[in-house]
Amino acid sequence: MKMVVVAGTPGSGKTSVLMHAVKDLIREGAKPALVKIDCMWTEDDVRFKRLGLPVAVGLSKDMCPDHYAIYNVDEMLAWAAAQGANILLNETAGLCLRCAPYPDKALAICVIDVTTGPNSPLKVGPLLTTADAAVMTKGDLVSQAEREVFRERILEANPGCRIIEANGLTGKGSAELAELMMSWPDIAGEMMLRHNPPLAICTLCTGELRVSKEHHRGMLRHLDGFMEYTGE
């Protein structure tokens, strides 16, 4: 079984790019199965099911969607195996830039929208810096010079990564992406996360709604960067 984790900010084109790649995977004889993780609601599973592959949805509700995805990796793999699949595609919710829900042996793909401007690769953080491949989308909306500057910025953030220029509308780049997925080694043995998720142990995590500092305890970070533990 191969595992592919597709992350990226909302609206960056994860679903569209992945849909084209799924068509290529099926054409090439692979057997993909897809788990779409979202927070509250998604309809992407309906779009994916039209392509004729097994699709499951995981809604994280009150849990952080990336933590939820990481926690449920075993279950997703078991489900994919039961579907007779040999590639598990996991599309993440794509919300927070701090988490990178990439297990080390999975192929980690960060989808990033070129129109967000050349500073965005530096803002994305571990989602991009620990990815194996960055998929640049919406390149048709900018000049070639802008695409090349954006590409340079991605390489500054993640010097070793493979860059694929894709277009979710035309399917450009999907063949290259599918080929990369198929060439990735199978997962084996115990997997580790590539990057630690953020600290999330404070009163806000347990449902405190009041806003001011005085109401909060736990591992907390001040606006000036000072980090402290407050509490018993």
Binding site: P118, G125, L141, E148, E152, T170, M219, R221
Partner: protein, 301 residues
Amino acid sequence: MSQTMIEIANRTTNQTIEQTTIQTVDELESQTISHVASADSHAANRTTYPATGPLRLTIQGGVDKSGHSDAVSRIEISRGEIIGIVGPTGSGKSTLIADIEQFALGDTPSGRRILINGSAPGTAQRYDPRKKLVAQLSQNMHFLADMYVGEFLRMHAKSRGKDPGLAEKVIELANTLTGEPINPDYQLTILSGGQSRALMVADIAVISDSPIVLIDEIENAGIKKQEALRLLSGEGKIVVVVTHDPMLALMATRRIVMKNGGMTKVISTSAEENRIFKDIERVDGWLMGLRETIRQGEVVA
């Protein structure tokens, strides 16, 4: 207890890019400098394409929007040639340009194949800007990047493995194509359509400098289109230009006619058309003069 937790917190967040939420300008600048250093190692192992020597671009036909084979099954284009792509809107002109830009290997919706000197280019030539054979001027009339003109051009030169000092030359050249001068301290996003296009043209001529140039609809650019085309066609380049403009279409030696996504025929510019081109050029010069008179607030005599 509190102290230990801070230490743990610091250790675990050490791998992230951003150490603090709020950064001073100085900190941001030093970060940029360290990025520059890491990217320079990229430039070291670059190779460039030959500036001269044989170069032959081949387009192998694929299918149109209905899945029927292109009537034109093969076209060969050599150095120094300007080739036009014509056809009604939606006929597949931009798709053909996109096929060439990405060196389609039968892996695009059209199923076309693009060959260089008879064979498919390698992965590096397809994707690495430093080895890229193609420079493209797209229909986009504006920049979206939130950067200053000079900063952006230096960054682009670096991505192509070129001297960042070329930025000044680009601006100088752009200012010969547009009425309103561009300043390196301008924000890219405030440039007018004409200024943006002029900058894109000059950037291709100076920084991209690839042997194949693709141009999508230069006539809508609000710049001196003929000069721009001459500048881009430069010495011994292959220029592919999508156009509805009779003057630009006839500057090409041949033109590919598109319909319903397919390549239907190739027309060679005839001697008669060359004669008509001279007339169009005269009329265009006259119109340009009138336009300039009106722009300068003078009365047309």
